[in-house]
């Protein structure tokens, strides 16, 4: 059982590196992506500073400037997502195929023992395709998802491919409802 769990950790390390490598070849190294990324980060930081400085002011001119910059940032963010999307689809398909292959290899096998009883809506994942009613038995897919969650993001951060905090913050804010003062 232990060798299976260690093998799954190894598989997720390999797939994380493979995924990042493929994304680097198809997206990260392209000039368009690099330009857009630098631009989005620069604009996000600028917008954050401007909001900090004039966030509560009622000056119409400032409000308009902030709105204009938000619009520009939104457009750049959309372009950035479009650049990423095509290759993400390709990688997504490749990884779905890989995942289904591993799924069939580990089908019905208990790969680990959970030190806790998972809550009911997680049991569907943690006990997927496993025989018996012992819900502390762990399926491949649950351990693989956990490994991917921790390993992939750390690898992205180590390699410097993770989006900057300012960009994610502004990106998140763009999808949220606009604050009352900008309505």
């Amino acid at each position: 059982m232990w060798s299976d769990s260690l093998l799954i950790v190894f598989i997720s390390i390999c797939t994380a590196f493979l995924g990042e490598g493929l994304t680097w070849i198809l997206v990260y190294r392209t000039e368009k992506y690099q330009k857009l990324k630098v631009e989005v980060e620069r604009q996000s930081k600028k917008l954050e500073k401007r909001k900090e400085a004039h966030g509560d002011s009622l000056d119409k001119q400032h409000k308009k400037k902030i709105e204009r910059e938000e619009e520009r940032l939104k457009n750049n963010n959309r372009d950035l997502s479009l650049v990423k999307m095509k290759s993400m689809f390709a990688i997504g398909f490749a990884f779905t195929a890989l995942l289904s292959m591993f799924n069939s290899i580990f089908d019905g096998r208990v790969v680990a023992k959970l030190p806790f009883y998972p809550i009911s809506w997680i049991q569907g994942l943690s006990h997927r395709n496993l025989p018996g009613d012992d819900y502390t038995d762990c399926s491949f897919i649950f351990l693989y998802i956990l490994c991917t969650m921790s390993i992939r993001q750390n690898i992205q951060k180590l390699l410097g491919f993770a989006p900057s905090r300012a960009a994610s913050k502004q990106g998140g804010a763009l999808f949220a409802a606009p604050p009352a003062q900008f309505k």
Partner: protein
């Protein structure tokens, strides 16, 4: 930031890798670069997650208590580090909540993986 500036930043970061370590373990350090401090918090969290996962797996701690203790210890260590060791003004970072959630989910996933694997290897044949 231009690409030129970025490469200069990168060079500074690699040169200053040692100083970041030193700054992280020196009390009351001044952090002019907020990102750098948040990175320290992020990686500290990941380390805490893995270390706690190893401990909980070896002991072994089981059930909801293990999960709860992880959350409490993780938050307490970061709170102590930020407020008592580094004495950072948390408002500069958008409040304690922003610092508390920095890298939490990744750390939690890392903790679960190490806890499950250690538990499986050392105590996997026994049931709860």
């Amino acid at each position: 930031m231009s690409s030129k500036n970025k490469s200069v930043d990168g060079a500074n970061k690699s040169k200053g890798g040692e100083t970041v370590w030193r700054k992280a373990f020196t009390a009351h350090t001044d952090w002019p670069d907020k990102e750098e401090f948040l990175d320290v918090i992020y990686w500290m969290r990941q380390a805490i997650g893995i270390v706690l996962g190893l401990f909980w797996g070896v002991l072994p701690l089981k059930g909801f208590l293990g999960l709860l203790l992880f959350v409490v210890v993780n938050a307490a260590v970061i709170y102590f580090y930020v407020n008592n060791f580094q004495t950072i003004d948390e408002e500069e970072y958008g409040g304690m909540w922003e610092i508390t959630k920095e890298g939490f989910m990744t750390s939690f996933a890392g903790f679960l993986v190490t806890w499950i694997i250690m538990y499986t290897g050392l105590h996997g044949s026994f049931s709860l």
